[in-house]
């Protein structure tokens, strides 16, 4: 009886990425149960909205020199208020921070995704194939990791020049070995599972096993790490900007803003303070989000 009823109700699944997306959103909703994660998600979401609606929020052209050395709250000739003051060149700091969030939230995720793609592929190969492949990949990553990160960035950017795209390359180059290490460790454990043996015994290709059987089960730690790493990448982009290796001026860049105004920091603290707060809050957001995700992933 039971079988006949289910027989009629069980339909072929409508294949769809919509369903997968819905599941992703639902699992994200679990975050509600972690306070820390909620605060993090709120901070990140705040900056994402700021970046999306930058033209509506910013009341000045970020690169226009209007009125140098204005204090926060000063009113411009146009009647608009410099809520966070202006810098030494007379550019509105709020507008620059708002537009600058676009830079950070554009390049940081791209750089992280690139670093992850390279790191995951290397880690899967090293962990799953083992032997000589593992030796070669691990030694390469050892060499890269033995350089101080800053030196690495300076070498790479100095060689290929400073641009948004080159920042992505530099970050990918410097952080994929670390990601490879994590993935390799996870793969070494997962490849001995029976379901991997089952896939091998039905003649699946190595790539299929790596990408479909192993990788999805490593996602928990990787998602948490990705969130943390996004924070580091934001710091890195800030540091590169600060060192003058970031985006070429005059486009707004949080790190660059700190760099340009740091000598005046004692006299005009608002010029450096607000970009710093912007950087810290976004990084804090990603770190808290990572903590929340870890808390949830440990729970079940």
């Amino acid at each position: 009886m039971a079988t006949t009823t289910t027989q009629s109700t069980t339909q072929m699944p409508s294949a769809g990425y919509g369903a997968a997306l819905w599941r992703g959103i639902k699992s994200f909703a679990l975050l509600r149960e972690s306070w820390v994660g909620m605060i993090g998600a709120f901070l990140v979401l705040f900056w994402v909205l700021v970046a999306l609606f930058a033209p509506l929020i910013a009341q000045f052209d970020p690169n226009a020199a209007i009125q140098p050395f204005a204090k926060p709250g000063a009113v411009a000739a146009s009647g608009h208020t410099f809520w966070l003051g202006t810098d030494h060149m007379g550019r509105d700091i709020l507008s620059r921070i708002v537009w600058g969030s676009r830079t950070v939230l554009f390049y940081a995720p791209i750089a992280t995704v690139c670093a992850y793609t390279v790191g995951i592929l290397m880690g899967l190969m090293a962990g799953y194939r083992g032997g000589l492949v593992d030796d070669i990949l691990s030694r390469i990553s050892d060499i890269i990791l033995s350089f101080p990160v800053l030196v690495l960035y300076i070498i790479v950017i100095a060689t290929i020049g400073a641009s948004g795209f080159n920042i992505v390359i530099a970050i990918t180059f410097a952080s994929s070995p670390g990601i490879m290490r994590i993935v390799r460790g996870l793969v070494l454990d997962l490849r001995n599972r029976d379901y991997v043996a089952a896939a091998q015994t039905r003649g699946e290709s190595d790539w299929r096993i790596m990408l479909f059987e192993i990788l999805p089960n490593a996602r928990g730690p990787l998602i948490v790490d990705a969130c943390l790493r996004l924070g580091y990448v934001i710091i890195t982009i800030g540091v590169l900007g600060f060192l003058g290796l970031g985006l070429p001026p005059p486009d707004p860049d949080w790190g660059g803003m700190v760099n340009e105004t740091r000598q005046m920091a004692m006299v005009f603290p608002h010029m450096t303070l607000f970009p710093c707060i912007a950087i810290s809050s976004l990084i804090l957001g990603f770190n808290l989000l990572a903590d929340g995700l870890r808390e949830i992933s440990l729970r079940d």
Binding site: A2, T3, T6, Q7, T9, T10, M12, P13, R193, D194, Y195, A197, A198, A199, Q200, T201, R202, G203, E204, S205, F212, E213, P216, N217, R219
Partner: protein, 700 residues
């Protein structure tokens, strides 16, 4: 036994709950138990029935979210539930000690055994270090560890699993406790090692007068160690009694069901098949009203069994302490029940499908030590398989039996193409496949050789849905290519393994262990294989579930005329379902033959010891006790002569140490690898004796 003495422990109307975010979960309900001095109590039940929770409650070690809701635990006249943390500390380890399932997890790997043992008396008594050391040494001798001095100076990893568990038992006994709790103390050990530990445990109460509570899922072990037994189901005791009364005439339908699930020597896969208990253990918050076993019980009577929760009552006409929680136990006549569903015709054995001829598998181990450089022996070999010879026919079940490290899984790997053989041949349907890796095999070869894996929690990829995983197999094997047809085929497979069709959409974590194993079977049979290797497919499952999965496996085999290679360490399961048996030890086949030939003399001495080591849950069946000394030698340095010579109880002299034994042919396909002449081996009395004049066995 000692009626006059005051009981050591009295649990009265104990209710234990866990408090989780989902709410209160009643883990144990209405539990009463009295332990007299020197008595051994067995608590038996399937996973999730609350038996470990009881032990934890007695230790008052419930964790942050557990608590005793009502009832009392009186230990020597004092209520443990009212004790402060300080008072508890003085009792734990000193008056009540506990021994856990995994010895390697109970010992601290970075401290010497001596430090860990001496800590016990030093912490609880005021004695000198010398005295503590002396006591520890004496205790190691008492638990029959060879060379206690050496053990004292070892670290845990330098000891074998059996030795470690003996150390843990010694540690538990050191402070001379009045009560010893043993939570599945032998589950992680091999059968021959287990037999030694069980012997030791059953001696403890005689020697030290310690009362024991022995928790196990294995009725056979309970029979060998305990005086009284409590059967638990879904958080409550359903039946209790002395070993004799309960094992001879079980009254509760659940207890009876458990016995029907165990392959006793009287069971037979064709004439008297196992009878699994239908349904599943209810989750604590899904328990029905009235009898918790009601929904799975064949004798359930509406309006009676589903009324109020009822209490234990004494069984009329049985021993005074035989009590049962069933309203209808008097109406049920278990002897009248058919022992199995239907009697099956034995399968007709077909043509030869697998021929293993002189197969060897050596693993190379590179040794880069200085010594190796000097002697020039930089490569050493782990001899996982040596000269394997056997055949398997269509529709036949061949069991490969042996303890861990005997090379049975290595053989499976070579057969599946995950490794390649070093020498010799494995002919499958006439073609040698021993040196073809799985990626070089044709789809036809791959799909006709499939495997069911051991660990149900590992066999399915947790990231993909059940439907997706089975569909992938069908697609990969080229059985069907059209989407609709693949879907239909998955549905048929789900029907075959008796799972509801909407499991298609489930994720593995939504399935129980038994259900996962069914999916594993469905996956293996997706391409109509000619040979299926089942690597301990039921050893991680509860008895009632294991019985159902075993029966399912045999049903499908019957239907498809598949050859089943059944890898196992459990001789009772093997005796039940195998047609032929291959006994392996340290990479060698020591004996092979049909099931009856292997289970009757002449035996190989190792087979004899294995048979004796398997616990049998039937008090009327007698067994000759053979306990093997020592441990399995390393496969890196196997003995020069007979592989079994280091532990053999029938060693005849130097010839065993120095010369590899010959394959002696007893009859046709029954071969024993031993120096002892067949005539002498034939004179050995059978290990297991089933009485012919038993009322109960006859009734079954």
């Amino acid at each position: 036994m000692n009626d006059k003495q005051e009981p050591v422990l009295i649990c009265k109307d104990l209710c234990i709950s866990y408090y989780t975010r989902a709410g209160e979960i009643p883990a144990v309900v209405d539990f009463s138990l009295t332990v007299k001095p020197g008595e051994t109590i067995g608590i038996v039940g399937e996973s999730g029935c609350g038996k470990s929770t009881v032990a934890m409650a007695i230790m008052q070690y419930m964790g942050a979210n557990g608590g005793i809701k009502s009832g009392s635990i009186m230990f020597k006249g004092r209520d443990l539930t009212t004790f402060s943390e300080d008072e508890l500390r003085s009792i734990r380890g000193a008056e009540i000690s506990m021994i856990y399932q995994e010895p390697f997890a109970s010992l601290n790997p970075s401290l010497k055994i001596s430090t860990q043992l001496m800590e016990v008396p030093l912490a609880h008594e005021t004695i000198s270090r010398d005295e503590a050391r002396e006591r520890s040494l004496q205790m190691l001798t008492d638990v029959k560890l060879p060379d206690p001095e050496r053990v004292m100076n070892s670290y845990p990893h330098q000891l074998s699993g059996g030795q470690q568990q003996r150390v843990v038992i010694a540690m538990g006994l050191l402070s001379n406790p009045s009560l010893l709790l043993l939570d599945e103390p032998t589950t992680a050990l091999d059968v021959t090692v287990e037999a030694g530990i069980v012997n030791l445990i059953s001696d403890i109460s005689n020697k030290f007068g310690t009362s024991q509570i022995y928790i196990s899922h294995n009725l056979g072990l309970i029979l060998e160690t305990c005086d009284r037994v409590f059967v638990m189901y879904s958080g409550e005791v359903v039946e209790e009694g002395t070993i004799n009364s309960l094992f001879t005439w079980p009254k509760h339908p659940y207890t009876h069901g458990l016995f029907s699930c165990i392959p006793l020597p009287t069971a037979d896969k064709n004439a008297a098949p196992l009878k699994p208990i239908r349904g599943q253990l209810p989750l604590p918050f899904e328990r029905p009203s009235g009898c918790y076993f009601g929904p799975r019980c064949d004798h359930f009577k509406k309006g009676l069994c589903d009324q109020d929760h009822f209490r234990m009552e004494n069984v009329e006409g049985s021993a005074p302490d035989h009590r049962v929680r069933c309203l209808r136990y008097n109406d049920i006549d278990h002897t009248k029940e058919a022992s199995g569903e239907t009697v099956q015709e034995p399968l007709e054995i077909g043509k030869r499908v697998l021929n293993v001829d002189g197969m060897k598998k050596y693993y190379e181990v590179k040794d880069s030590s200085l010594m190796a450089l000097i002697t020039g022996k930089s490569v050493r070999h782990v001899k996982a398989n040596e000269e394997l010879n056997f055949t398997a026919h269509e529709s036949e079940t061949v069991a490969i039996v042996g303890e861990s490290g005997c090379g049975k899984s290595t053989f499976a790997k070579v057969l599946m193409g995950l490794e390649t053989g070093t020498e010799g041949e494995i002919r499958h349907l006439g073609k040698d496949i021993s040196d073809i890796e799985v990626r070089d095999r044709s789809t036809k070869q791959i799909r006709s050789l499939q495997m069911v894996f051991q660990n149900p929690f590992d066999t399915l990829n947790p990231s993909h849905s059940i439907g997706g995983q089975i569909s992938r197999v069908i697609k990969q094997f080229g059985v069907e290519s059209d989407k609709k047809k693949i879907f239909d085929r998955v549905m048929t497979l789900l029907d075959t393994v008796k799972l509801p069709r909407d499991f298609y959409f489930r994720k593995p974590r939504q399935l129980s262990g038994g259900q996962k194993q069914r999916i594993g079977i469905a996956r293996a049979f997706a391409g109509n294989p000619s040979i299926v290797i089942a690597d301990e497919p039921v050893s991680a499952l509860d008895v009632s579930v294991a019985a159902a999965v075993t029966e399912l496996l045999m049903d499908i085999q019957r239907e498809h005329k598949t050859t089943l290679l059944f890898i196992s360490h459990d001789l009772s399961v093997v005796r039940y379902l195998a047609d032929r048996i291959v006994v392996m030890y340290l990479g060698h086949i020591l004996e092979r033959g049909s099931t009856n030939e292997v289970f009757d003399p002449p035996y190989h001495p190792y087979t004899e010891a294995l048979l004796s080591a398997v616990p049998i849950a039937d008090p009327e069946i007698t067994k000759r006790k053979i306990v093997l000394e020592g441990d399995l030698p390393s496969a890196m340095k196997p003995p020069k002569g007979c592989p079994f010579c280091t532990r053999c109880h029938r060693k005849i002299g130097d010839i065993c140490d120095n010369e590899p034994p010959p394959d002696q042919i007893v009859r046709d396909r029954h071969v024993i690898k031993c120096h002892i002449p067949i005539e002498e081996l034939s004179k050995i009395a059978p290990v297991i004796t089933v009485p012919e004049t038993s009322e109960r066995i006859q009734a079954a």
